[in-house]
C-alpha cells in the first residue's frame, strides 16, 4: 500500500473483504488460472487488468462463486465462495460480460424483478434515475442501445445493495461520453462504501478509477500496485522528441548516462531513456548551439507498464520455462 492510500483510509482499519490464495482453475486441458493470489480491502476499487486470455474473467467468476476452483482458497466477506453461495449472492452484485435479458422484458420490470430477490434492495426508481434510465422505464430490453443495456446491467448488479460489486468489462462498447459518466457512477458507488472489483483492459479506466491494480498474464499475477506506482515502476521510461535547428551529434548523445536510444525519423529525433532525461538532452543540445523545436515529452504511462511487464513475464517464462515460478513483484 502506498502512503496516499493509507492516509485516505487512516480512520478505518484496513479490512480485507476478498482474499484469494493460490487460485487455480482449468477448463478441460486449458489452465485458465494458474496461480492467482490477491487481497482486496473494503471500500477500494480494485482493478484486474491483463491481455485477453489472461484469466481475468475466470478469476472474478471464481470470486463470485460461479466457478469451482481446482485449487486454492477464496474467502469473500468472510464467507467461503462455494459453501456459503446463497449468503454470498445476497451480498455480492455481479455484472457479467455479455449477458442479456429477455427481449420483451421492460427496464422497470427487470429492476423490480431483480429487486424482489434481495432482502433489502435499493429503490428501483432511484437507481434508474442515478443511471439516467428513468425515461427508458417502459422500454423493452431489445430496444435499448448498447450503452443503455450496459447501464441497466450495472443497475441490476447494484439493486441488491451489495457490499461487493464485481464489474466485468464495464465500459466496453460505450462511447467516450457514457464511459466517463459510468466512471463517475462507479466512484459514487465507492464513496457509498461499496468495494468494487473492476475487470478491464482500458488503461485509462484503470488509471482513473482504481485504487490498486493486479496485472494478470497467462493466469498469474505479475504485478499488484497502485496505478501510479505501476506506471512509474515500468523502469520510469521517458521519451523526448524534437526537430533540431542544426546538426545533432547523435553519437555523443547516445553516450549520455540516462539515454538508452536515439532514433531519427526524417528531421525528427526521438530520445528514449530514464531519470533526468529531458534535462540531459536539453543541456547537450544547448552545448552544441542547437535549439530543439516542436519538443514533445512522453512520460511512461500505465500502457507502457502493461506492455513492459507482460513482455518481461513472457521473456522470463521462455528463458526459464519454470512453471512453479512465483510472481515477481
Amino acid at each position: 500500500m502506498t502512503p496516499t492510500l493509507e492516509t485516505r483510509r487512516a480512520q478505518t482499519a484496513t479490512e480485507v473483504v476478498v482474499s484469494v490464495d493460490h487460485l487455480r482453475v482449468r477448463y478441460g486441458d486449458t489452465l485458465a488460472v494458474d496461480d492467482v493470489s490477491l487481497s482486496i480491502n473494503r471500500g477500494e476499487i480494485f482493478g484486474i487488468l491483463g491481455p485477453n486470455g489472461a484469466g481475468k474473467t475466470t478469476t472474478v467468476e471464481a470470486i463470485g462463486g460461479l466457478r469451482r476452483p481446482d485449487g486454492g482458497a477464496i474467502s469473500v466477506l468472510g464467507l467461503d465462495a462455494l459453501r456459503n453461495r446463497q449468503e454470498l449472492r445476497q451480498r455480492v452484485g455481479i455484472q457479467l460480460q455479455a449477458s442479456e435479458l429477455p427481449d420483451k422484458l421492460r427496464v422497470g420490470e427487470a429492476l423490480e424483478l431483480f429487486a424482489s430477490f434481495y432482502r433489502d434492495p435499493a429503490d428501483p426508481d432511484r437507481l434508474l434515475k442515478l443511471l439516467g434510465l428513468e425515461a427508458k422505464r417502459e422500454d423493452r430490453f431489445a430496444n435499448l442501445s448498447g450503452g443503455q443495456r450496459q447501464r441497466l446491467s450495472i443497475a441490476l448488479a447494484l439493486i441488491g445493495r451489495p457490499e461487493l460489486a464485481i464489474l466485468d468489462e464495464l465500459t466496453t462498447g460505450l462511447d467516450p461520453q457514457s464511459r466517463r459518466e459510468t466512471w463517475k457512477l462507479i466512484e459514487g458507488i465507492r464513496d457509498e462504501g461499496v468495494t468494487v472489483i473492476l475487470v478491464t483492459h482500458f488503461m485509462e479506466e484503470a488509471e482513473r478509477l482504481c485504487d490498486r491494480l493486479a496485472l494478470l498474464h497467462h493466469g498469474r499475477v505479475i504485478a499488484i500496485d497502485t496505478p501510479a506506482a505501476m506506471a512509474a515502476g515500468a523502469a520510469g521510461r521517458q521519451r523526448v522528441s524534437f526537430r533540431p535547428s542544426g546538426v545533432v551529434d547523435v553519437a555523443r548523445m547516445r553516450e549520455l548516462p540516462d539515454v538508452r536510444d536515439v532514433v531519427r525519423h526524417g528531421d525528427r529525433f526521438t530520445v528514449e531513456g530514464t531519470g533526468d532525461l529531458v534535462a540531459a538532452v536539453m543541456e547537450s543540445l544547448v552545448r552544441d548551439g542547437v535549439v530543439p523545436l516542436q519538443t514533445r515529452i512522453e512520460q511512461s504511462t500505465l500502457d507502457d507498464a502493461f506492455v513492459a511487464l507482460t513482455a518481461d513475464a513472457d521473456a522470463v517464462v521462455s528463458e526459464h520455462a519454470d512453471p512453479t515460478r512465483e510472481e515477481s513483484r
Binding site: E100, L101, P102, S116, F117, L156
Partner: protein, 260 residues
C-alpha cells in the same frame, strides 16, 4: 421436474422473488402473439370447425362417435404440444443463449428457479387450455364433460409431465434456440400423427394403432377419451405415459446445460 440437478438451487427456505419471477414469465408469454395464436386461437377455432362440419351423427369409421367427440382429446393434445415443444424450449434455449440463466445464477434466486418457473407456467397454461377445450366442446357441441374426473386429471397430469420433460430435453440438447425450434417442430408432426390429428386412431389399422399407443400422445388420447366417456383410463396407457415422464425427465435433468 424438480429433480433436475442444478448448480444454483438453494437448500434454504423458499427464496424471495419466485412469485415475481412467475408473474414476469407470464407477462413475457403474453407478449408472444404467435404462441397465443397457435396455443389458443387456432385450437379453439379448429374445435369449432370440426364441431360444425362434423354434424350430429355418430360415425362408424370413428368407432361409433361424433367427429367432435373423437377430436376433443386430439385438440387438447395439440395445445399441450404447442406449449411443451414450442413455448417451453424456445424460452429455455433463448434464456441460455442470451446468458440470462447465468445472469440469474449470480443472484439469490438462481437459474434453476427460472427453469422451474417456466415448467410451472407452461403446466398451468396447458391445464387451463385443456379445461377451455373441454368447456368449449361441452357448451357448443354438448360433448360430455369428463365423467371419470380422477382418471382424467391423472391422465392429463402424466401427459403434461411427459411432454414438458420432452420440451426441456429439446432445450437441453439443442445447441441454439433456432435448433431447439427446429427439433420441436420436427417432433410435432409424428407425435400429433400418432395422437390422430390427421387420421383419428379409430380409423387407423390395428398395427398402426398398436404402435401409436406406445407413443406419448398416442397413449394420452385413448386415456383421456376413456375418462371423458366415464371409464378409468387403461392401465397400459397410464403406464406408458408415466414411463415417458420418468425417462424424459431424468434425461432432461442430466443433459440440461446452464451456459452456452
Amino acid at each position: 421436474m424438480t429433480a433436475v440437478a442444478a448448480p444454483s438451487v438453494s437448500t434454504r427456505a423458499r427464496p424471495r422473488g419466485f412469485r415475481r419471477l412467475l408473474i414476469t414469465e407470464l407477462k413475457l408469454f403474453a407478449r408472444e402473439p404467435m404462441l397465443l395464436f397457435w396455443g389458443l386461437v387456432f385450437p379453439v377455432g379448429l374445435l369449432v370447425v370440426l364441431g360444425v362440419a362434423g354434424g350430429d351423427k355418430a360415425q362408424k369409421s370413428l368407432g361409433g362417435v361424433k367427429l367432435i367427440v373423437a377430436y376433443t382429446p386430439v385438440v387438447m393434445m395439440f395445445v399441450v404440444t404447442i406449449l411443451a415443444l414450442s413455448a417451453l424450449p424456445a424460452a429455455l434455449a433463448s434464456y441460455r443463449d442470451k446468458g440470462y440463466l447465468r445472469r440469474l445464477s449470480t443472484t439469490p434466486i438462481g437459474a434453476a428457479r427460472l427453469l422451474a418457473a417456466q415448467v410451472i407456467l407452461n403446466f398451468g397454461l396447458a391445464a387451463a387450455a385443456v379445461i377451455l377445450v373441454a368447456l368449449v366442446s361441452h357448451l357448443a357441441f354438448s360433448v360430455a364433460l369428463p365423467q371419470q374426473l380422477g382418471g382424467f386429471v391423472l391422465a392429463i397430469a402424466l401427459t403434461l409431465a411427459a411432454m414438458l420433460s420432452l420440451g426441456t430435453l429439446v432445450a437441453a440438447v439443442a445447441p441454439t434456440q433456432r435448433i431447439a425450434a427446429a427439433i420441436g417442430s420436427l417432433l410435432f408432426f409424428p407425435l400429433m400423427f400418432f395422437a390422430g390429428l390427421w387420421v383419428p386412431q379409430a380409423s387407423m389399422g390395428t398395427t398402426l394403432r398398436d404402435i401409436s399407443h406406445y407413443t406419448p400422445l398416442g397413449a394420452a388420447v385413448p386415456a383421456v377419451q376413456n375418462a371423458i366417456a366415464g371409464h378409468w383410463p387403461g392401465t397400459v396407457h397410464l403406464l406408458v405415459l408415466a414411463a415417458y415422464a420418468v425417462v424424459l425427465c431424468a434425461a432432461a435433468g442430466r443433459l440440461f446445460r446452464w451456459e452456452r
